[in-house]
């Protein structure tokens, strides 16, 4: 189960600190890098969260990590606190929540668009404009390619999904035939 309540608490605190120092861009970048590291290299995550190692050892690992990444003072303290409080495991969740908070503050949101083939820049711009019209916010779009949807596009912003793919239309057609015969 996702521990969003905890992640929200920590992200909120960090957000308040970031707002004072006006250092959102730096925070988001480092947090996302850290989260990627967690997901991409399980050994790192293990070294920071495994209760088999004493807390002091884990804190040392974090300190080395921070030194090599050249993290700002405030954020460094935040990471150390997480390890100390045995909450390093929710780092990726904090990164997501923090990103959402910063986006909400800037009236922006993250979106993804999935298509069967790579989209041309004009098409991407069009999708972006449409999504911005629906949500009323600036949309930062990431494009993905997934041949399994056959054709059309699937656009996602937060909980909202615009599904115009051939795959889901075929599924709908199948249901409608099943339902009436």
């Amino acid at each position: 189960m996702k521990n969003t309540v905890l992640a929200k608490r920590y992200a909120k605190a960090l957000f308040a600190v970031g707002k004072e120092g006006n250092s959102f861009a730096d925070f988001t970048k480092t947090l996302n890098e850290m989260a990627e590291l967690f997901v991409g290299m399980p050994e790192v995550a293990d070294a920071l969260t495994n209760p088999l190692y004493p807390v002091e050892a884990r804190e040392k690992v974090m300190e080395h990590l921070l030194a090599s990444m050249q993290v700002s003072q405030v954020l460094g303290n935040f990471f150390k606190l997480l390890v100390q409080k045995k909450r390093a495991n929710i780092l990726p969740a904090i990164a997501t929540v923090f990103q959402a908070m910063v986006d909400a503050d800037n009236n922006m949101c993250q979106g993804t668009v999935v298509s069967a083939m790579e989209l041309t820049p004009e098409l991407t711009a069009k999708v972006k404009a449409t999504l911005e019209k629906i949500t009323g916010k600036q949309v930062v779009l990431t494009a993905q390619v997934d041949p399994s949807i056959i054709g059309g596009i699937v656009a996602k912003v937060g909980d909202l999904v615009l599904d115009g793919s051939i795959k889901s239309q075929l599924a709908g057609l199948k249901e409608s035939i099943k339902g009436s015969v």
Partner: protein
């Protein structure tokens, strides 16, 4: 029915041609955890309470708990097909069921899908399963009778249209039988019936449906069946779904009778649901709002005022007690909500008094308002007579020297108990009930041996039908016994009594 392959491909061709390709805009979430008929969903931020959520492979769920970071959701279908991480779609619809005249004669599950194998319902209307009950202004007091066809109930604990009369008793003593008879009794009236089976064996439900069909009662009856093998949310929702179907008739100026068989199982399934949703348990581990669960359901049964069409929804909820314990949590709750109760007792049942109604503990708070004048005239003293009889019978067991007055009271009482017995699936119309009760309370049976009374009753009905059918017509029309009618009934009973005795060789 034969379908040619050619026809099928034609149909499919038409379907494909007419299929509109729409871009599907939906709000989604993901399943965090699933099990025991409950799913927790992350996302679906704008989800409403009681909204239907669509899971993959078309399974629906009802959003019951809206929390800060997730939505607790009761699944109305097979849990095994749902995995962690599945996408959940909002439908934007509050849970609803099909309603209307098309539902009659059908057997549906707890959410209104047909399960009788007779094709789709083609219902034109649908209605939300959770509706707030009509307010004070929209109502009118209960004033017309809704006959159950059981002499003991119609005479002593009358049920009016729009009343809620609880049927309570241990297992296997005829609660369902009484209610099924009440449905069969509506055959020649304008009352539509709904039978909600909650948490029962499929075989039992099949038997009830079969009995209703055999007696021609299925034409005006809808059976909502959430059986023991259905998930708990389905059993919980079935009562409300059935109620929504009954409300359609009520709101269209018609009359309906709904039977909840039984509400103790519905309470148990709601307890299961609530505990799985981690709502705090209270007495007997039932959630805090178990009373509200039953009160809001039963409050929807009512009589509407004339401006709203004067429709009514009568409810006969059933509660099963454990070893006659009416002071358990759920029985006391439902007793306090309903407008009276019919209490069935094992002792009476095994003594051969069937229906096994305990006259002393059964009451109807609507009372005489739900009886026609003629019934009040014959049954007015019945309850008192029976109470005195019971007291005397207990007392008379000690000695044999009894004065004539006591002796007479005992004879009368024993005969009244006898004529209140009634075989299953044989509900009686009001006019017949009045004739036999008239004979009983006016002393026409006092000289007959008790074991001939069942025969006497059957022959009396046939006799009146043959020789004096105007008695039935007058009763139906006037609904009261005036001097002339009383005289006519008296002479008929006198004449029939003599011929019956002669035929039996009695003095």
């Amino acid at each position: 029915m034969q379908i040619k392959a050619e026809e099928i491909s034609q149909i499919i061709k038409g379907q494909i041609k007419d299929y509109e390709s729409k871009v599907d805009l939906s709000e989604t979430g993901t399943v965090i955890s699933v099990g025991d008929g409950i799913a927790r969903v992350y996302g679906v931020e704008k989800c409403m309470a009681m909204e239907l959520l669509e899971f993959p492979s078309g399974i629906l769920g009802i959003a019951l708990n809206l929390e800060a970071d997730n939505v607790g959701c009761a699944l109305l279908g097979d849990v095994r097909k749902i995995k962690e991480g599945d996408t959940v779609k909002r439908t934007g619809r509050i849970a609803e069921v099909p309603v209307g005249p098309e539902m009659e004669g059908r057997v549906v599950d707890g959410v209104g899908n047909p399960i009788d194998g007779q094709g789709s319902l083609n219902a034109k209307h649908s209605s939300k399963i959770e509706v707030v009950a009509p307010g004070v202004i929209a109502r009118k007091s209960v004033h017309e009778p809704c006959y159950t066809g059981a002499k003991a109930v119609d005479a002593m604990t009358p049920v009016g249209r729009g009343q809620r009369e609880l049927v309570i008793g241990d297992r296997q003593i005829g609660k369902t039988a009484l209610c099924v008879d009440a449905i069969i009794a509506q055959k020649y009236t304008d009352v539509h019936c709904i039978y909600v089976a909650i948490g029962q064996k499929k075989s039992t439900v099949a038997l009830v449906v079969e009995a209703l069909r055999k007696h021609g009662a299925m034409e005006y009856t809808t059976v909502v069946a959430a059986c023991a093998s259905d998930p708990a949310p389905m059993q919980y929702v079935a009562a409300f779904a059935g109620c929504a179907m009954g409300e359609y008739f009520r709101d269209n100026g018609q009359h309906a009778l709904i039977i909840y068989d039984d509400l103790s199982k519905q309470a148990v399934s709601y307890r299961e649901l609530s505990l799985l949703l981690r709502r705090p348990p209270g007495r007997e581990a039932y959630p805090g709002d178990i009373f509200f669960n039953h009160s809001r359901l039963l409050e929807r049964s009512c009589k509407l005022n004339d401006e709203l069409g004067a429709g009514s929804l009568t409810a006969l909820p059933i509660i099963e007690t454990q070893a006659g314990d009416v002071s358990a949590f759920i029985p006391t709750n439902v007793i306090s909500i309903t407008d009276g109760q019919v209490y069935l007792e094992p002792n009476l049942f095994f003594a051969g008094v069937r229906p096994a109604i305990n006259v002393g503990l059964s009451v109807s708070r609507v009372g005489g308002a739900a009886q026609v004048k003629a019934m009040k005239q014959v049954a007015g003293t019945l309850r008192l007579d029976l109470a005195q009889y019971r007291e005397l019978a207990a007392f008379a067991g000690f000695g044999s020297d009894l004065d004539a007055a006591t002796q007479a009271q005992l004879t009368r009482g024993a005969r009244l108990v006898e004529i209140l017995k009634q075989p299953q699936y044989r509900p009686l119309p009001m006019e017949k009930q009045i004739c036999i009760l008239f004979a009983g309370t006016r002393g026409y049976l006092d000289t007959l041996p008790i074991d001939t009374l069942a025969e006497y009753e059957q022959q009396l009905y046939a006799h009146i039908e043959k020789n004096q059918p105007s008695i039935y017509d007058d009763l139906k029309e006037k609904q009261a016994i005036d001097a002339a009618l009383e005289e006519k009934i008296r002479t008929t009973l006198q004449a029939f009594g003599e011929s019956f005795k002669a035929a039996k060789g009695l003095k």
